[in-house]
Subunit: 334 residues, 3 copies
């Protein structure tokens, strides 16, 4: 493992991540990626520690990724699924978290449909003076930091497999396309990409682009954005000369809320296809956090084309990045 300083106890949001912190995650994940290429993909780092996956919102992909990351660090894992839980018995979320704390949990990985729940739990743990770490695995429409970090790792290791660092993205043009309004993935990605010095172009239909969020950014946080964020109501200006295209999952529920005319029309206007990619830099790569609605956010053949698609690499990166996060916040305990 790289010798680095890391003082962060929880990972809730990327809003205040420093370049040094991003680079620590990237370099630690690169070390674990190397472990994962061995025949025995396991290290004893977190032996005897307990990682509890508290998923108050159903998930397969992210839960399995965290579970596997924890197991490869030799931690014991506990899975909590809201559907079979005492949540139906009237217990509060904080009380559930405190129960897992009292059982001896060292790290809580938390997903909840309401923004702010992981932060509330982290604050409660700090207030209690206990050395339990909280990892936000997605909270409402707020943030999904491990997803943005694995996206960053996927891109940076494409450039330099062994020595990824955030400075590599300075001046790159990155398009984020789709339902930005409802996307916690986009919110986390914006923080990391702005921090990297990239030019970030958001493209979405008017009903799915958060005007208030944009206004908030432009008014109060202009120093952070540093002229790096651009908003588009059409796809083409965002794709023009882009180095990377991040597509976002379209929740089909949006249709019923009348935010979209039809999936077909959405695909015609904002779906990524081979043809539309011709606007981009010739080495352009496409990302998607998954699960993908084939033929909606991205054409089916493009998704499967390893020349353009980084989707499988993202999943693989996910395990290494989550191992890095668990390692960084978990191994400081004594």
């Amino acid at each position: 493992m790289p010798t680095t300083t890391w003082n962060r106890h929880h990972v809730i949001s990327l809003a205040d991540f420093t370049p040094a912190e991003y680079n620590t995650v990237l370099q630690t994940a690169a070390s674990f990626q190397e472990v994962l290429s061995r025949r025995t993909k396991k290290v004893p780092t977190l032996q005897g520690q307990v990682v509890a996956n508290l998923f108050f919102e159903p998930s397969t992909r992210t839960r399995s990724s965290f579970e596997l990351a924890a197991k490869r660090l030799s931690a014991d894992t506990l899975n909590f699924a809201a559907s079979t839980s005492s949540m139906t018995k009237g217990e509060t979320i904080l009380d559930t978290a405190k129960t897992y704390l009292a059982m001896g949990t060292d790290i809580m990985v938390i997903r909840h449909k309401e923004a702010g729940v992981p932060n509330a739990i982290a604050q409660e743990m700090d207030r209690l003076g206990v050395r339990v770490s909280v990892l936000n695995a997605g909270d409402g429409q707020h943030e999904h930091p491990s997803q943005a970090l694995l996206d960053l790792f996927t891109i940076c290791t494409l450039i330099d497999r062994d020595r990824p660092n955030i400075e590599m993205l300075a001046g790159k043009k990155i398009a984020i396309v789709g339902d930005i309004l409802h996307s916690r993935v986009a919110r986390s990605n914006i923080w990391s990409l702005i921090a990297s010095g990239a030019q970030v172009h958001l493209a979405a239909p008017p009903t799915l682009l958060p005007k208030l969020f944009a206004e908030y950014i432009y008014s109060e946080k202009t120093d952070i954005l540093n002229g790096q964020l651009f908003l588009h109501w059409q796809l083409e200006p965002a794709l023009q000369d882009a180095d990377f295209v991040m597509t976002l999952r379209l929740q089909k529920e949006r249709m019923t809320a009348h935010l979209l005319p039809s999936l077909r029309e959405y695909h015609q206007l904002f779906g990524i296809t081979r043809q539309k990619l011709q606007l981009c830099n010739s080495n352009v790569k496409v990302l998607h956090p998954g699960p993908v609605n084939r033929g909606v956010e991205i054409s089916s053949d493009l998704m499967d084309d390893p020349e353009f698609s980084l989707i499988q690499s993202q999943v693989t990166s996910g395990v290494a990045v989550r191992m890095a996060l668990l390692y960084l916040i978990g191994s400081g305990k004594t």
Copy 2:
């Protein structure tokens, strides 16, 4: 581990537990509590053994506690949840248990909404002459022995952290408050507290106090109770000079069955508050098996006050006590 004799193969009920058995559990759990304070909280005691959690009734708290206890003893665990099982396919419960037996399960931890199921499975295992142990994790309104044992451990280790024993409670006054009629926790607690020589005071509204249970105890089992059990329809005489107050979970379903006028009225009459605690011994502590309905069985601020509340300690004790039970019934196998 303390060198003790332990001949019990299953733990179904505390009705016939001897003081020596209680003390063996308490002292073994104290040893494991010490293990749990180390950085690596794992021992190889049950390596290669299989603990199957057969939860025919949904549970998070108790299932996670047993799962973690088993993992910290290095056992392999299998989780069975009724909802995703072949129970819907018409298999009998005994057949399900025999299937897990045939797979090589060493210890079955069983929860079922019907009283008697863990005992029926234990008897079937004995009839078959196999060395599988059964732990009752809660059966209907019958018993929940591991909960009562962890309550006992929580109280005794408060008095002497390293050398807990049941004789410590002789002469103590302990109030059990709430829905005693439907509570398997109360039934198990009554057995252990009577065995300890404590004075046990039950307080509940008339609709939630089991008259038949009381009559049964007074008529047929007076030798066991030894003048130690007292019944109250009001809270105050139970709290007067009490050393410990055990509150019970109120199932909200009781409302719909017209056993209670309202939660607000229940809280006014039987909810534990700071003010009502002034009736008790000044060192009084409050327990609750969880999950708590804040502001119903106990006021929210009292629940969070470490001066009075043992609720978090109970959860922590649960892992150590369940490790002790798994160890005691599991390590005799060869």
Copy 3:
């Protein structure tokens, strides 16, 4: 472990299994059965490898059996249950499999209600050139190879515990009774039993016997069957002098589809009882893949009689056979 050649990368169907392959499975499973009789029932064979149980159809028995087999080989396991998954989010099954591939899964154990899904996933993995193995844990009404292999192992180890081999069954008469039309277990069993040289007699009510399947067999595949398969609309000719009787689970849903008059009538005509067994060879044994509808496919007392019933042995064999399959397809990886 026996030193054998094994070139099969996936186990999807028994249709093309060679006698040498059957014997490799049988002998490897016998070695693991011996491991399972030790106190520590674990071997480090698959340490650091990941076995993902992708059960798109609910299951307890088969999923637990595979999970335990994997854990006893020291693999890490991931459980995927369709009900709590992103399947509801519109992802395709192939994409789900590719996600688990990208996470680093070494072996996928797959159950799906549609025939052909495990094969489609295996073909996709081969097309991608990755060294991931697929085990079919039951696909629609197609096949359930691990069940047929454990049935074979149960029968052969009854004859010779240490050196089971498929040639032992040459000339034996084996009846398969019940809902053959809908049974993937029967389809897999027919392949293994025909390969063994046994005489296979199918008995079912006309509505539950696959005429098309029979016609298909008789017309196109007569070379494989080699005069070894016999069809009966009544039970008695199948039982006459039989050495083994394989009963099949009756899905109660068949009643609602008007394929059966009543469970009582089904039991009278095709249920296996002590009395009907008198038609068989005096050493006859009865098998059932479970879960059993007691008093429907088989009388309750017969099911529990160890003189006749192999049902518990089948479950025990299941773990050893699945360890063998995971070992054979998993340990070739480097």
